[in-house]
């Protein structure tokens, strides 16, 4: 690139040009290094962890209680399964709430809403997306959890203030703007001809939406879901504040559960010795999380390139 453009340049511009191109390519290289840096640090620290704790203990162990004790017994307290179970439970709760709502909102915006609605609804969603996650965490633990506890009391249940349900509820609110704007983008790609064709053949709008548009847009919508799930897996502050610390293998949304992000924060907050398996375990969790979200995003990219027919 450099040599080609340099050919038809006045000689006086040579110096400035070289600086300019060096700047551009250095910036690009730096931007791409960040990803390599992440992979490098995650893999090297995880390697150190797996040389202390066997990978089979980590990936298939059903007990997560990262305390180091005497003997060999502590090697079996680094099982990632309960942590992943909690992550999956909260993500599933959040998605179950947010997916139908986001789809309906996107459909409403595109097919039924009066033209003015979009004009003031979009900034509102933008605001929701802009709220920092620490605020969502605060909402979950200070507002939603007490409300759920009061509800539970009236039904005769005693609930802890930290539970999967309140974290999932608030997380669904956090995910809503992302998912509904992704669905909205997908629906906007519907060609005029489809609409004309469907309605011209006598289909009512809801029939066209449910039987033609949504099935045809399946890849794009699936991509939207995958991106949103990736965001949910990596969400930290809401779960740190509202989900709990104790790892247990449960799928009951009324119990406190823990997630990979919560465990990373608890392992690394405060002082730490950097060769202890406890701190290195955070990197193994980080690598797991990174692999999951990278896989989801790459799958989403693949799906997105598929053109609807």
């Amino acid at each position: 690139m450099l040599s080609r453009s340099a050919q038809h340049l006045p000689a006086t511009n040579g110096g400035a040009d070289i600086i300019f191109y060096i700047f551009i390519y250095a910036a690009l290289a730096l931007a791409l290094t960040v990803g390599l840096g992440i992979i490098g640090v995650l893999i090297s620290e995880s390697w150190r962890f797996f040389s202390l704790v066997p990978p089979t203990n980590f990936f298939f162990g059903a007990v997560w209680n990262p305390q180091i004790g005497a003997g060999d017994e502590w090697l079996h307290r680094f099982g990632v399964l309960p942590v992943l179970a909690g992550t999956v439970l909260i993500t599933a709760l959040a998605m179950a709430l947010t997916l139908p709502l986001a789809l309906l909102v996107a459909v409403y915006l595109n097919f039924y809403a009066p033209p003015d609605f979009r004009r003031w609804f979009k900034p509102l969603l933008e605001l929701l997306a802009a709220i920092p996650t620490v605020v969502y965490g605060f909402v979950a633990i200070i507002i939603v959890s007490p409300a759920l506890q009061a509800l539970g009391r009236s039904l005769g249940l005693t609930l802890a203030s930290e539970m999967a349900l309140s974290a999932g509820l608030v997380m669904s609110l956090m995910l809503l703007p992302l998912l509904s704007s992704l669905c909205d983008d997908a629906l906007r790609t519907i060609p005029r001809a489809w609409r004309d064709g469907c309605l011209g053949l006598g289909a009512l709008p809801n029939e066209a939406i449910r039987k033609i548009y949504l099935p045809c847009l399946q890849p794009a919508l699936l991509a939207a879901v995958l991106i949103t799930v990736g965001r949910a897996l990596g969400e930290t502050m809401i779960v740190v504040m509202a989900a709990g610390m104790a790892a247990r293998l449960t799928f009951n949304p009324l119990e406190p559960v823990t997630t990979a992000t919560v465990q990373i924060v608890t392992l690394l907050i405060g002082d730490q010795a950097f060769d202890s398996p406890k701190t290195l375990a955070a990197y193994a969790l980080g690598l797991t999380l990174f692999t999951l979200s990278l896989g989801l995003n790459m799958a989403a990219q693949k799906l997105h390139h598929r053109v609807p027919r």
Binding site: A31, L104, V105, L127, F138
Partner: protein
């Protein structure tokens, strides 16, 4: 036939209910946060008469406070009513705005018991005053809820009544400056490559790299900061420098994507005209494309700033959870930021801190939401302008 129309009607109403209920929930949530947070800007203060000493020192002030009396008509001893952090706050106030020695009428913060009683009507049984006495003081206007400017002008404190956000705000600003200073040139360079210089498969590869990077959970960037900045480069823990670099790297993919979109919005005619008149590629980009895109670049920057201000999780990992107190933040010293302060406050056992955290949330939301609205409407305006000119 009617069954189909009923179905249509049902579906349409379902969508309408979903749309409207989302709108109601968003507005309700924001209102709730503001309504909960605003009372945190007020605290109960006591009208006190005290003799200020000639020389201001901890000991002389402690004696003065111990001897202070409530204003007439009460005239009782004031010390048991005052907040635990009164001494430190008064000392800072006198350092900022010295008062002459002698008798003064001052408003000093009331203890957390009294604040609780004022709000909930609950007085803890260990409190040295009876509720009736407090009610008399209230009617005599010796106890008053007053606007607490200290929330914005003072540093953190162990005592909720005298704790403030000043260092968190300053720390956020420092972190922001580091992050922006680091990221903007890199993002601009990368975006110029993606839109102006690169071609074909390489660009697509870079774009998918950057999209992958944007999907990386923010906490992973905390692990990066801890593993590389602290452990390899040995930068000071808890410092604004490390926090800023971490958040800068975090916002890099977002910034590249928005910058690239801004450059793509420049009409192709501008490039063609500049190149046709003999400008080099660099001159075209430097003098025509980037200046034309400035407004859009700025809206992207505003969004990134809003995101950086609210980010918390990676900062917890690079150690920005230390208690800072009154020491003002510096680039390499221990620093706290606004959202971290909120996280720490909500977690403290003292009940009053939850109210403080709600007030801090109002401050942060005001900043972040304002930035986002500005960016949104500015971009909207630019889109309209561009459509009109075409």
């Amino acid at each position: 036939m009617t069954a189909r129309y009923q179905q249509e009607c049902f579906f349409k109403n379902l969508c309408r209910v979903a749309g409207l209920s989302v709108a109601v929930v968003v507005i309700g949530l924001l209102l709730l946060l503001f309504i909960r947070g605003v009372p945190g800007f007020w605290r109960v203060e006591i009208a006190v008469e005290m003799v200020l000493p000639e020389t201001i020192s901890r000991d002389s002030l402690r004696q003065a406070i111990a001897a202070a009396t409530l204003q007439q008509p009460s005239g009782g001893r004031a010390a048991p009513l005052l907040a635990d952090g009164t001494l430190d706050e008064l000392r800072r106030r006198l350092q900022d705005r010295p008062l002459a020695a002698g008798l003064h009428k001052l408003w000093l913060p009331a203890s957390s018991d009294i604040n609780r009683w004022w709000r909930d009507g609950y007085l803890s049984p260990t409190a040295p005053w009876r509720a009736e006495d407090l009610a008399t003081l209230k009617t005599a206007a010796i106890l008053q809820a007053r606007f607490n400017a200290g929330l914005l002008t003072q540093g953190d404190s162990r005592h909720a009544e005298t704790a403030g956000l000043y260092n968190g705000l300053l720390g956020s600003l420092l972190v922001l400056l580091v992050a922006i200073g680091l990221t903007v040139p890199i993002a601009l360079g990368a975006a110029i490559y993606l839109t102006e210089l690169g071609k074909g498969r390489l660009v697509r590869l870079c774009e998918s790299q950057i999209s992958n990077l944007a999907a990386v959970p923010s906490i992973i960037f905390g692990l990066l900061g801890l593993g590389i900045l602290l452990n390899v480069f040995g930068l000071p823990r808890s410092s604004a420098l490390v926090g800023g670099i971490t958040l800068g790297l975090l916002s890099l993919p977002l910034l590249i994507v928005t910058f690239a979109a801004a450059l793509r919005a420049v009409p192709q005619e501008y490039r063609d005209a500049a190149l046709a008149l003999g400008a080099s590629r660099r001159q075209t980009i430097y003098y025509h494309v980037v200046p034309y895109a400035t407004a859009r670049l700025l809206t992207g920057l505003i969004l990134a700033i809003a995101r950086i201000i609210g980010e918390t999780a990676p900062l917890l990992l690079v150690g920005m959870v230390a208690f800072i107190g009154q020491t003002s933040p510096s680039l390499t010293g221990a620093t706290t930021t606004l959202p971290v302060q909120i996280f720490l406050w909500y977690d403290r056992p003292e009940h009053q801190f939850v109210e403080k955290a709600s007030a801090a949330i109002v401050v942060m939301l005001a900043v972040v939401l304002l930035l986002n609205l500005v960016a949104f409407f500015w971009r909207d305006y630019l889109d309209k302008q561009q459509r009109c000119s075409q």
